[in-house]
C-alpha cells in the first residue's frame, strides 16, 4: 500500500470518538456502594410499591450467592461493585408537560446526537422515550398511542400505573436468578421502557428509546419489558451513544420480550457506546441479557443488532420458541476495532412443534480486536419438525485481530433439520484493486465491501436505522484498512 494511503489511514485511525462530550447537569446520585439499604433507598426514591422493593431485595440476596462468570472469550479487570453508584437522575425532574419545560442543556445534548426531538415528532413519526441516564425525561406521541390502547412508558411509570401487567410478566422470561448480571440488574435496575400492545393492535409507528450514559461512574441498569398480546405487532428500536469517559462503565441491562398468539415483535438495536481509545483505555462494558419468549402459537420474535461500540460486548439475544409454529430470528453485525472485544451470538431454544429459527451473524474484526460468535441451537424432545439455519461469517481486517466461532448444536429430536455454516475471510486485494481502478479510494472501497457484506443484516433494520447503521459502520472501521 502506498505511503499516502498509509498516512491517511493513520490519520483516520487516530480520529477521536466523535460523540464524546459530557453534559453538565446536576445529578441526583445515590452514594457509591451496594447493600440492602441502598436498594431500599433506590426503591423509595422511585416511589415503588412494597412488592417491587421485595422483588429487588430477593434478587439482591440471590446475587450475593452468585459468582462472577468468566467463561467467555473476553478479558477485563475485576469490577468493584461497591464502587458504582446505582442511581443517578437528572435533577430537574419531575415530569414535563411539553418540551419547552425541559432543561435546554439536555435538549442540546440530544441535538448533538442528532435526535431532533421536536422535528422527530412531526417528521419521522417516531415516538421517542428518551432515557437520559436513568429517568425518562420526555415521552412523545403518548396520546396517539394511548388512543389505540398501547402502553409505552418508562418502567417506573409502568410499576405505578400498570402493576398487574408488570407483576405478571416481570422476570417471566429472564428470572431474577438467571445469571450474575441479570440478577444484579433485577436488584438495582433504575429505569427503562415498558411496552404493551393490546390484542389485535398493530403499532402504527416504530417505538424507540435512546439510551445514554452520562454521569461519571454510574452504571446503567436498564430494564425493558415488551409484551405483544394476541395478534399484535410492534417494532422497537434501541440506539445508544455515550460520552467519552476514561473509567470503565458497566452496563448490565435486561430486555424481556413476550410474544403471545400470532403476535410479532421486532427488536432492533444500534449500539455505539464509547469503545475506549485505541490502547483499550476506557470504554463501556456491555453485559446485557436479552431474551424473548414466543409463548403463543404462530408468534415471532426477531432480533436485529448492529454492535459497533463498547469496549466489551457480551450478550446473546435469545428466543425461546415455546408456541407451535413460532419463529425466532437473529440478525447481527458486530464490529470490533482497536482493542475492542465482543462475545456475542444467540440462543434458539426450540420447544414447540414446527418452530423455525434463522441466525445470520456477521463479525468484522479490525485492529487488535477479538470478535467471537457463540450460539446455541437446542431442539427439545417434543419440538417436532424444528428447522434452523445458521450462518456466521467473519471478516478479518488486518493480521492482529481474531475471529472465533463457538456454535453449540444440541438436538434431541430426529425430525429436526439443522444447518450451520461459517466462513472466515478477508477483503481480497483484487476486490480493492478493482474499485481503486475505478477511482474509488481504498477507504471507500473497504466501506463499500463491508457494507455489501453486511447487507443481509442491514436490510432487516427499519429504514431510519439502516442509514445510521451504515454510517456507523464506516466510522467504526475508519483507519482499519491495512
Amino acid at each position: 500500500m502506498s505511503t499516502t494511503e498509509t498516512q491517511k489511514i493513520e490519520e483516520l485511525a487516530n480520529k477521536e470518538y466523535e460523540f464524546g462530550f459530557v453534559t453538565d447537569i446536576e445529578s441526583d446520585t445515590l452514594p457509591k456502594g451496594l447493600n440492602e439499604d441502598i436498594i431500599r433507598q433506590l426503591s423509595a426514591k422511585k416511589q415503588e410499591p412494597e412488592w417491587m422493593t421485595e422483588w429487588r431485595l430477593k434478587a439482591y440476596r440471590h446475587w450475593l450467592t452468585m459468582e462472577e462468570p468468566h467463561w467467555s472469550n473476553v478479558t477485563f479487570p475485576p469490577i468493584d461493585y461497591q464502587d458504582i453508584s446505582y442511581y443517578s437522575a437528572p435533577k430537574s425532574t419531575p415530569k414535563y408537560k411539553s418540551l419547552d419545560e425541559v432543561d435546554p442543556e439536555l435538549l442540546n445534548t440530544y441535538k448533538k446526537l442528532g435526535i431532533p426531538l421536536e422535528e422527530q415528532k412531526i417528521l419521522a413519526g417516531v415516538a421517542v422515550d428518551a432515557v437520559f441516564d436513568s429517568v425518562s425525561v420526555a415521552t412523545t406521541f403518548k396520546d396517539k398511542l394511548n388512543e389505540m390502547g398501547i402502553i409505552f412508558c418508562s418502567f417506573s411509570e409502568a410499576i405505578r400505573e400498570h402493576p398487574d401487567l408488570v407483576k405478571k410478566y416481570l422476570g417471566s422470561v429472564v428470572p431474577y436468578t438467571d445469571n450474575y448480571y441479570a440478577t444484579l440488574n433485577s436488584a438495582v435496575f433504575s429505569d427503562g421502557s415498558f411496552v404493551y400492545i393490546p390484542k389485535g393492535v398493530r403499532c402504527p409507528m416504530e417505538l424507540s428509546t435512546y439510551f445514554r450514559i452520562n454521569a461519571a461512574n454510574t452504571g446503567q441498569f436498564e430494564r425493558t419489558l415488551i409484551i405483544a398480546d394476541d395478534n399484535a405487532y410492534v417494532s422497537y428500536l434501541e440506539g445508544c451513544t455515550a460520552p467519552m469517559r476514561d473509567e470503565n462503565q458497566l452496563h448490565a441491562a435486561v430486555v424481556e420480550l413476550v410474544a403471545l398468539e400470532n403476535s410479532q415483535i421486532k427488536y432492533s438495536t444500534v449500539q455505539n457506546w464509547y469503545p475506549g481509545d485505541k490502547d483499550g483505555k476506557g470504554g463501556i462494558y456491555n453485559f446485557v441479557t436479552k431474551r424473548g419468549a414466543c409463548r403463543g402459537t404462530n408468534s415471532k420474535i426477531s432480533w436485529t443488532q448492529v454492535e459497533t461500540g463498547s469496549a466489551i460486548t457480551w450478550k446473546y439475544p435469545s428466543c425461546i420458541l415455546q408456541g407451535d409454529n413460532s419463529i425466532g430470528e437473529f440478525y447481527s453485525v458486530a464490529v470490533t476495532n482497536n482493542m475492542q472485544q465482543a462475545d456475542t451470538g444467540t440462543k434458539m431454544i426450540h420447544l414447540g412443534k414446527n418452530t423455525r429459527s434463522t441466525i445470520v451473524s456477521k463479525g468484522i474484526s479490525a485492529g487488535r480486536s477479538n470478535n467471537s460468535y457463540r450460539g446455541l441451537v437446542r431442539v427439545g424432545k417434543k419440538a417436532e419438525n424444528a428447522r434452523n439455519f445458521s450462518q456466521c461469517d467473519s471478516l478479518l481486517l488486518g493480521d492482529k485481530c481474531g475471529a472465533h466461532t463457538f456454535p453449540y448444536i444440541e438436538i434431541d429430536n430426529p425430525t429436526a433439520q439443522v444447518e450451520h455454516e461459517a466462513t472466515t475471510s478477508k477483503i481480497g486485494e483484487d476486490q480493492i484493486f478493482y474499485l481503486n481502478q475505478r477511482g474509488i479510494s481504498t477507504e471507500d472501497a473497504v466501506s463499500l465491501i463491508v457494507n455489501g457484506y453486511c447487507k443481509e443484516v442491514f436490510k432487516e433494520l427499519p429504514m431510519e436505522f439502516a442509514v445510521e447503521a451504515q454510517k456507523l459502520l464506516s466510522i467504526s472501521l475508519e483507519g482499519s484498512v491495512g
Binding site: K381, L397, D399, T405, P407, N413
Partner: protein, 438 residues
C-alpha cells in the same frame, strides 16, 4: 457404587503392585516419567460435566466399576484373530492381548533394515533412542486425567519407527484384543509411531473384542510425521458394547508432511476420542475423517483440534454420525489458526443422521482464527433420512429396510472411499451393512 475420589485412590493404590509387575524395569529412566505422571494424577480430579470439555459426556457409568490394572496373560488362538483380518490380504500384523504384545500371534512382512515394528515394552527395555526422544513428548499435558493415568501405567503398546527415506508399502495392522477373565480389567496401550524424513507408512489401529464384557481401554497414541513423511492412519474401534474406550491421539507434523486419519467407531458403551494435530512447520496437510455408528444407549464423543501454528498448511475434517435408539453423539471440532499462520486453508464438516426419536447429538464446530489471510469454513448438518428419497426407492419395489440401508450406505460411504486400502474399505462396507441391515 464407588464415588469419584475412590476411583482415583483406587488407581493410586494399584501402582505399587503395578511396579512389581514391571520386574527389573523399575530402575529405568522411563520409570521416573511414570512416577511423575502418578504424582500429577493424584492432584487431578475425575472430569465431570461441569468441565467444558466433558459437558455432554457423563462418565458415571464408568466410575461404577473398579478396573484392575493387573492383567493376566490369556491364551488366544490365532483363529479368533483371523476373524478380524481384512480379507486374506497379507498385512504385517501386531497383536496385543489385553494390552500385552503377543509375538506368537503377530507376523511381520518384509521389514527393511532399521525399521522397527513391534512392542513398546521391548524398545523401552532396549532403550531405543527414538522412544527416548519422542515417548511422552506430545501427550504430556499433565492436566488430562486419563492421559496422565495412561502415562503412569505405561507398560506396552505398539512402536513403529520408519527411518529416513524408507517406504513401507505393506500396511501395518495392529490389533488390540481384549479378553477378560473373571475380573474387570483396564488396558492402557501406549503407542508411538514415528515416520522419519521422506518416509511413508500406513498403520491400522484396531480395537476389538468378541465378548460382551465390561472392561476399560485407555489408549494414548503419539504420532510424529517428520519432513515430507506420509502417514496414513486408520483406527477401527470395535470394542464390546459394554466396554469403555477412552483414547487420545497426538500428531506432530513437520514441514511438508502429509497425515491422514480415519476413525471408524461403533463399539463401546462410552467412547471418547481426543484428537490433536499440530502443524509445526509450513506446507503440511492433515486429513481427518470420522464415521461413528451407534445404537442402544451408546455414547460416542469426539473432540478434535487442529492447530495451525504455521502458515501454508491445509486441513480437511469430515465427521459423520449415524445414531439409533437412545444413543448419544458428541462432536467438538476445533480449528485454531494462530497469529502468523497466513495462507491457511481449513475446512471442517460434521453431518449427523438421527434414526430414532431418542437419539441425541451435540455438536460444536469451533473456529478460532487469529490470522487474516486464511480460508476457513465449517459446516454442520443434522437431520433424518430424506423421506422423499426413501419413497423414491420404495416406489421402485425396494423394501423399507433395504431402502434405509441404501440411503445410510450412501451417507456413510464418502468417509470410507478415501481410505486407500481396498481390503479395509471392503471390511468397513461390511460393517456398515451389518449394522443397519442386521
Amino acid at each position: 457404587m464407588e464415588n469419584i475420589t475412590d476411583i482415583k485412590k483406587y488407581f493410586i493404590n494399584q501402582f505399587d503392585e503395578f511396579e512389581k509387575s514391571l520386574n527389573g524395569e523399575k530402575t529405568s529412566e522411563f520409570h521416573q516419567v511414570r512416577k511423575e505422571a502418578l504424582s500429577n494424577f493424584s492432584k487431578l480430579s475425575v472430569p465431570t460435566q461441569k468441565d467444558e470439555e466433558w459437558k455432554h459426556t457423563n462418565l458415571s457409568p464408568l466410575l461404577k466399576h473398579n478396573f484392575s490394572t493387573l492383567v493376566h496373560k490369556e491364551n488366544v488362538s490365532s483363529e479368533v484373530i483371523t476373524n478380524f483380518l481384512f480379507d486374506k490380504t497379507e498385512h504385517s500384523l501386531l497383536v496385543f492381548v489385553n494390552g500385552i504384545f503377543s509375538p506368537e500371534l503377530s507376523r511381520l512382512i518384509e521389514i527393511p533394515k532399521g525399521v522397527v515394528i513391534g512392542s513398546l515394552a521391548e524398545s523401552l527395555k532396549n532403550n531405543h533412542p527414538i522412544v527416548k526422544k519422542y515417548l511422552g513428548k506430545y501427550a504430556k499435558d499433565e492436566n488430562l486425567f486419563f492421559t496422565t493415568l495412561n502415562t503412569a501405567f505405561t507398560k506396552d503398546g505398539a512402536f513403529v519407527y520408519i527411518p529416513e527415506s524408507k517406504v513401507i508399502e505393506i500396511p501395518i495392522h495392529i490389533i488390540f484384543y481384549t479378553k477378560t477373565g473373571s475380573e474387570k480389567i483396564i488396558t492402557q496401550p501406549r503407542n508411538l509411531f514415528v515416520a522419519g524424513r521422506n518416509s511413508q507408512v500406513t498403520i491400522i489401529e484396531h480395537y476389538i473384542s468378541d465378548e460382551e464384557n465390561i472392561y476399560f481401554t485407555n489408549a494414548v497414541t503419539e504420532i510424529v510425521a517428520d519432513q515430507n513423511a506420509i502417514v496414513d492412519h486408520i483406527k477401527l474401534q470395535e470394542e464390546s458394547k459394554k466396554s469403555f474406550h477412552i483414547a487420545r491421539m497426538e500428531v506432530d507434523q513437520e514441514r511438508s508432511s502429509n497425515f491422514s486419519s480415519h476413525l471408524i467407531s461403533h463399539g463401546a458403551e462410552i467412547s471418547r476420542n481426543d484428537f490433536n494435530a499440530r502443524f509445526n512447520d509450513e506446507g503440511s496437510e492433515c486429513i481427518l475423517n470420522g464415521l461413528f455408528m451407534i445404537g442402544d444407549e451408546q455414547l460416542f464423543d469426539a473432540h478434535t483440534m487442529i492447530d495451525h501454528a504455521k502458515p501454508l498448511c491445509n486441513s480437511h475434517e469430515h465427521y459423520k454420525g449415524i445414531l439409533q435408539d437412545k444413543s448419544k453423539g458428541v462432536f467438538n471440532g476445533k480449528v485454531m489458526v494462530r497469529r502468523d499462520a497466513q495462507k491457511t486453508n481449513a475446512f471442517q464438516e460434521n453431518n449427523t443422521i438421527l434414526l430414532s426419536d431418542d437419539a441425541v447429538i451435540n455438536t460444536k464446530p469451533q473456529l478460532e482464527i487469529f490470522a487474516d489471510d486464511v480460508k476457513c469454513s465449517h459446516g454442520a448438518t443434522i437431520g433424518k433420512l430424506n423421506d422423499e428419497a426413501k419413497f423414491y426407492l420404495k416406489s421402485r419395489g425396494i423394501g423399507e429396510k433395504s431402502a434405509m440401508a441404501i440411503l445410510i450406505n450412501a451417507f456413510a460411504i464418502d468417509v470410507i472411499t478415501s481410505i486407500k486400502i481396498p481390503s479395509v474399505r471392503n471390511y468397513l462396507e461390511n460393517i456398515i451393512a451389518k449394522q443397519f441391515i442386521g
